[in-house]
Symmetry: C2
Subunit: 760 residues, 2 copies
């Protein structure tokens, strides 16, 4: 209780903090231009519903060929677009691949159009022109004027319910369109099946089955209007409808209660008076239509849009206030709290209010005693997002691990998730970094899950010989280049994952596992070629591949990266890496070159997922394998360079503007990097209890821990010039090296940075 | 107790009866040639599994056009074929439209072929030549030698599990193919989605979703081998596979644990020794793979094929023994017990062992206190099959009605089933004859369901204005010809259904409903044109259509029938019909003409679903609307003609041979007609308690009733010549008219026919 008073006093004493609402600094629009792949719409923390506008629903194919623009629309919205197609209920945040975009809703007036039209001409279909002037994009609230129809659209959500509010002009022919054809990344035949049932003149139930990035996905819904429609109709755009037969007894196009098919659209007709609001509650369920309806009833009882919006915003406020920062800069606060916002969107809740969810085994399961999550973009998020959760919400992180272990149990391949969504595994990227998340939680003493069972899952996963060259890795200590296109990066990632398993095994006293995996964790050495000083593709005969260009990312044995960057990917053994690369001096020189070299344009053109600004020299911040790199100077005698580089990256890669992200936010990983780095420390190797210090860009911060303790960061004399650490005191004691431990944080206390304009 | 002893003595005294097994008279092969559309495979009474060979799996399309041969393969097997493609788990019995054929399994040896090949050349694919010499088709047992592979296939079932036993030769390359592409009536894109998971080297789980006659159908399975396979593989024949991406990490074609797609096949490889048996248990579930596995565990514990076969045969024996007949003719017994067999296949159980089933609303429901059924071919089966069940198993019939009312509650259209299967309504044929089944049960005092709730469902159904012209019918008393292609037959069927509702309402004391519907039941009069003496299409202006040919079935306002036959379709008011048609003499003359006229070939060619033999004069026994017709003489002064015609029909339309059925068995209705007629009475108008007497073709029969009573039929002096009734005594009292009531039967007692070679 005493502590609580202390906090309140602290807040009060610092002026602005006490009255500021942290959500006011959240700008979901950040990253919606170019490569950020974030979405501007409404969601609550870890919400199942992500209700957001689609500015286009580009198909995967264009005139029978791959449409390169499909990549732009991973989140359904691009800031430069001039039209909005509609509002759909599911979106990935910041991913580099796409799916979802389920259940597109669009309100219109006038002549009914069921075709979305083309982005260049809003009159060509039901889409509408819009302007950013009328647009509000906030935490759990999105608003926009649909100029073609003079309709104001407002969106908010609860965990499982999307709440739409459309303010219409007076019209005898107002429509609400539900487009079940629309979807993000509409690969040919992606829509497997859709079903819609009109229960009465306000309630609709249905589902959509797709085969896209998630190969075998189903999502159910329940949709309720605040006002009965006057009439409704369907259109079936199936290439070829299946057997109709005696269905011809009915006129199915008008006011018929049900439709099923692959390419369906429905419309609901209303008369509206000037300024009349038609509201929609749209609940989702991974289990059943009944489940969706129950979710709706449990989460939203009335029709008060403001109440729902406010409740969701309060959830955000609660999440954001786990870290309060001191900063004189509104931009810093916007960057920080939008990073918090983007970090706390994924993973997403994946179960009904009664705990039922679809398992990887296509059976319905019940989450007993935990919340089940999905959307695990683990190649990205194991690096900083899950470590962040281990600090600010370990219980939730434990539930995520329980979800991962449930996934493992249900997995036909008997593997922990790699990149999973909606009861599907898409195996995206490399490694099996669930083990990093689990090991990090184990070594950090997170006790919210069965550590030994999770460890068993890790070990089984790590022995899956037919997974991405793992058999070769186990037998030979590396993956031969002939056998796998990304043999080097996979070897490096497996070595890191092995080390994670070893660390957790050690903590659990499972010595045999430790011994085995600590040995495997040394395999990074097998792909290092000392003659060139790079990690390099190695052939089955033990020789290094001749054809080798350390600058290119194409066909060099690395995934999303080149040898220059990936050579530094030994997060678990930086000291050994430095030694292997020739010692302190040569390593520092390598690092300096990385950050300062002039990368020829042809190499940039190859680099995936990032803008030109996303590269500093040859350092690619937009792709995750480099996220620990700036902190590697901490292991040399030139630690000030970590401080300098981190501040440079914070400044250049994050701006509180639509184009403010240098690359995909990657389900919050880019944002989590920001949060750690802005606070002054970073988990170089999750699975270790150690954090490397960088250079805090905030003037101070307070982290409220679940255990009731407070960890306070005070940064003295910090500004854009004073980026170098003069000294650091932990609880009044000067640190002798730039590292703190997890316990240092979790025990509560005070970390004081003394900053300076010079580094010596 | 006394009665029981009496029965035993009766059996003993008649010699053969006591030791005969009734299932020995069951020949499932009857009707498999030409139009019967029955299947020769294994099933238990009302079983969910119908495990039977496919002699071909013809696609709906042939070179882009409708393939007329698809009709032949409604049950997947045609007796004249020389090859077998495989054995699938679901089949309709005797229907005139097709679907199902789920989960085709084929054992082979030698070079693996995954293509079924063409019927003319078994070597063109995995199919095999076979001969009827090696074929055994019995109740719950089917056996055949697959000549191409020297493999003996044996099939048996429980309610939810198909049990295969394949006896292999010695082979290093024995295969069992699971073809998820195959299906009956494979309309383009019929396969919506299929999934297969190989849990271990003996257990597979999966499902198949189709959109065919049932628009939105899913069926789950669990499959277990008696012996582990050595390896397995998949082939995906999708026109275009959806996103693969990182699935490429794995070689999915070999020994991979799961696959999902639209066009999948799997194979499992074994080594076999000479005479080695590989057995498969294959369980179905309408709910989930888990449900299928539970069904398997509950119904079949071990691997004893004989035990499972015997248990199912005992179920048949129990069903068949509800009616024991006396006959000197093996053919008669084969006809009779095969009719019993075919009659007691449908409707089929549609729920897991725990009561869970898929509802019409696409939610999972639990049948509380009843068995849920599907496969309601009600346009056919309301006529005699359900009345038969009201006598020999009223409890089961009550459960069927509870299933129908559950269907109604879940129905998006709020209607009782018309033709339903697997949680789908296909609206096949006309009328809504659920009401006949319900009314028949109510008036006959079947108390196994909530009569008033069922009545409410009947009334709501009968008021569904947008269903097949019903709005016009309600407003105008008939359906105008301009509005509906089958306006006359629908008007007549609605009038009969209305009368059913009225009868039940009367019994329940719901006078308002009675008054309303008894009035509606007179509407048959509105489409009778006295100027020509036929029911005739009527225009909206009240005039009869000029263009009219009472012999043709095409475009005359009738479904599966012509004016000659349909004019007699007033089963609920024969006396009024006779009066309307000009009285006794003119009516008899009309009837005589019907049975004796020489129908020009061009009219036969139009007639659906029946062979040339299926027509007697212009009387079409193969189509149901005439099923009561022969009994209409009972309402004239020439009742002997009913006796004569019934015997003629029994003789000509039913033979114990593969081509023995004159038309589709129609889910048991044709067979139920046989059973009643062979016993000497028939329910002319279900919904009434009255049965009209015909001419029994058996020498006697004993009906064991659920209430413990026995109804005995004794037929004296009967043979093929002595077809006329001299007199009939009920419990020793001579009947004054050729009618008995339901109570006469259910109270137990003795009906004695005295037969003669002359009719006066």
């Amino acid at each position: 209780m005493k502590k609580f008073i202390l906090v309140v006093l602290l807040f009060s004493s610092t002026g602005v903090w006490a009255q500021d609402k942290l959500i006011d600094y959240v700008k979901p629009i950040i990253g919606t231009q170019r490569m950020g792949h974030t979405y501007p719409g409404a969601t609550v923390p870890f919400g199942m519903v992500q209700l957001s506008p689609e500015s286009d629903t580009i198909g995967y194919e264009l005139n029978g060929k791959y449409n390169p623009d499909v990549y732009k629309y991973c989140a359904g919205y691009q800031y430069d677009d001039k039209t909005i197609v509609g509002f759909s209920h599911t979106h990935f945040s910041g991913t580099g691949h796409s799916d979802l975009g389920d259940f597109l809703i669009m309100p219109t007036i006038g002549k009914l159009k069921l075709n979305p039209g083309t982005s260049g001409d809003s009159h060509s279909g039901y889409r509408s022109a819009f302007s950013h002037n009328s647009e509000v994009s906030a935490a759990n609230y999105y608003k926009v004027k649909l100029d073609d129809y003079n309709i104001t659209a407002e969106l908010t959500t609860t965990t499982r319910v999307g709440f739409h509010q459309y303010t219409f002009p007076a019209s005898d022919s107002a429509h609400i369109i539900l487009d079940l054809v629309a979807g993000i990344y509409n690969y040919p035949d992606k829509n497997v099946w859709t079903y819609l049932r009109v229960v009465n003149d306000t309630l609709m139930l249905g589902y959509r089955q797709t085969s896209g990035w998630a190969r075998n996905r189903i999502l159910y819904f329940a949709m309720v209007f605040s006002k009965p429609f006057n009439s409704h109709g369907f259109q079936n755009y199936d290439r070829k409808e299946t057997y109709r037969g005696f269905w011809g007894k009915f006129d199915q196009s008008k006011n018929f209660p049900e439709i099923a098919g692959r390419q369906l659209k429905a419309y609901f007709n209303f008369k509206t008076s000037e300024g009349e609001k038609i509201k929609i509650k749209f609940a989702l369920s991974p289990v059943s239509m009944e489940g969706a309806l129950n979710n709706m009833k449990a989460e939203v009882t009335g029709w008060d849009f403001e109440e729902v919006k406010n409740a969701g915003q309060q959830q955000w406020e609660n999440e954001l206030s786990k870290i309060t920062i001191q900063s004189g800069s509104r931009e810093e606060k916007e960057n920080f709290y939008t990073s918090m916002y983007h970090a706390l969107i994924n993973p997403t809740v994946y179960m009904d209010v009664d705990g039922a969810y679809m398992g990887l085994d296509r059976n319905i399961h019940h989450a007993n005693g935990f919340t089940n999550y999905t959307t695990f973009s683990l190649w990205d998020t194991h690096r900083a997002l899950h470590p962040l959760l281990n600090i600010i919400e370990p219980q939730r992180n434990a539930d995520m691990i329980r979800s991962m272990v449930a996934h493992y149990k249900q997995s036909p391949e008997h593997m922990l998730p790699v990149w999973s969504n909606s009861a599907n595994e898409n195996w995206c990227m490399s490694g099996y970094h669930s083990v990093s998340v689990i090991a990090d939680a184990i070594v950090k003493g997170n006790e919210g899950f069965d550590a030994n069972k999770a460890m068993d899952a890790c070990v089984t996963t790590a022995y899956h010989r037919s997974f991405g060259g793992l058999g070769y890795y186990i037998d030979m200590g590396y993956i031969p280049d002939e056998k796998d296109g990304v043999s080097v990066s996979s070897t490096l990632e497996y070595a890191y994952d092995d080390w994670c398993i070893a660390q957790a095994a050690k903590k659990l006293g499972r010595t045999d596992i430790y011994e085995e995996f600590i040995k495997r964790s040394l395999n990074y050495k097998n792909v290092y070629d000392p003659s060139v000083g790079f990690m390099r593709p190695k052939l089955a005969d033990g020789s290094f591949r001749k054809n080798f260009d350390p600058l290119t990312t194409i066909n060099q044995g690395f995934i999303e990266g080149n040898a220059w960057n990936y050579t530094l990917y030994v997060p678990h053994a930086p000291k050994e890496l430095i030694k292997m690369m020739g010692g302190n001096k040569r390593f520092v020189s390598y690092m300096d070159s990385l950050f300062t070299m002039d990368l020829p344009d042809k190499y940039f053109a190859e680099t995936e997922d990032i803008t030109r600004d996303g590269i500093i020299g040859n350092y690619v911040h937009g792709n995750e394998p480099s996220h620990h790199v700036a902190y590697l100077y901490d292991y040399t005698d030139q630690q000030w360079k970590t401080q300098e580089r981190v501040r440079m990256i914070l400044k250049r890669m994050y701006k509180p503007t639509p184009d403010g992200l240098g690359g995909n936010d990657d389900a919050g990983q880019m944002s989590a990097w920001y949060i750690f780095s802005a606070l002054g420390f970073y988990p170089v190797a999750p699975g270790s209890v150690e954090y490397a210090l960088g250079s805090p860009s905030v003037n101070g911060a307070t982290i409220k821990l679940e255990n009731g303790k407070i960890f306070t960061i005070i940064v003295k004399n910090q500004n854009d010039t004073n980026v170098y650490i003069q000294k650091v005191e932990l609880n009044g004691k000067v640190l002798s090296s730039p590292f703190i431990t997890h316990d240092d944080i979790m025990n509560g206390g005070e970390l004081v940075f003394y900053m300076s304009a010079t580094h010596e």
